[in-house]
Amino acid sequence: MENKRYYITDSPLNPLELQQLVTKPEAGAVNCFIGTVREFTKGRRTLYLTYEAYEKMAEKKLAQIGSEIQEKWEETECAIAHRTGRLDISEAAVVIAVSSPHRQAAMEASSYAIERIKEIVPIWKKEQWEDGTAWIGDQLEKNRYPRGGPGKEELEE
């Protein structure tokens, strides 16, 4: 896992490790976004989550998001890790670290990364409630693929 910038793992995520991967003398800002397991969603209590990934493709897609970011925001560095398996309340499911010379790029790029993860990275979340369990679908609700595939734009590397 050492020095790998885009990875899926079933071990607890370490935000500090990702921050360090993107830190460099040219950077004046590091933004680190951590998606955590929330106990209540719309009043319903979650006991824990289970994440499943198409690991090989997911790592490719995380790296693709990193490339997109470096193209859109100059001189950024990026690292993204997503966890799989069972996650308890408050545990980190995803960590995104972006460094940049100036603060705005690091923040905008982090926001971009999490949106893209929810669009193109093959990872699925299963909620375990007190009274049941379910796989959660597209939460963005803006990306529907009625023809079974993403549009041309999504296909670009």
């Binding site: 929810k118 669009e119 193109i120 990872i123 796989w135 597209d138 079974g148 993403p150 296909l155």
Partner: protein, 77 residues
């Protein structure tokens, strides 16, 4: 060709993968094949498709050595 299922779709098919002995097919034909094997796997109808870990479109061609994956709407992050 190898065909992979994930998450809710894996629950519906009851398996992680099947192998289809076929030289060539469009993505759409692979999707039809899956539905013929697992008529109740309705999620396959709206699943994204990937070949060798890249998104593909319905008319793209899948070859014998390829790995096709059907991906339910993702919910990572």
């Amino acid at each position: 060709m190898k065909i992979l299922f994930f998450a809710g779709l894996k629950d519906q098919t009851g398996t992680e993968e099947v192998v289809w002995e076929k030289d060539e097919a469009t993505v759409g034909e692979v999707r039809e094949y899956v539905l013929s094997l697992f008529p109740h796997a309705y999620t396959v109808k709206q699943a994204m498709a990937a070949v060798n870990e890249e998104f593909v479109q319905e008319t793209d061609t899948v070859h014998a050595d390829d790995t096709v994956a059907f991906l339910p709407p993702v919910s990572g992050g």
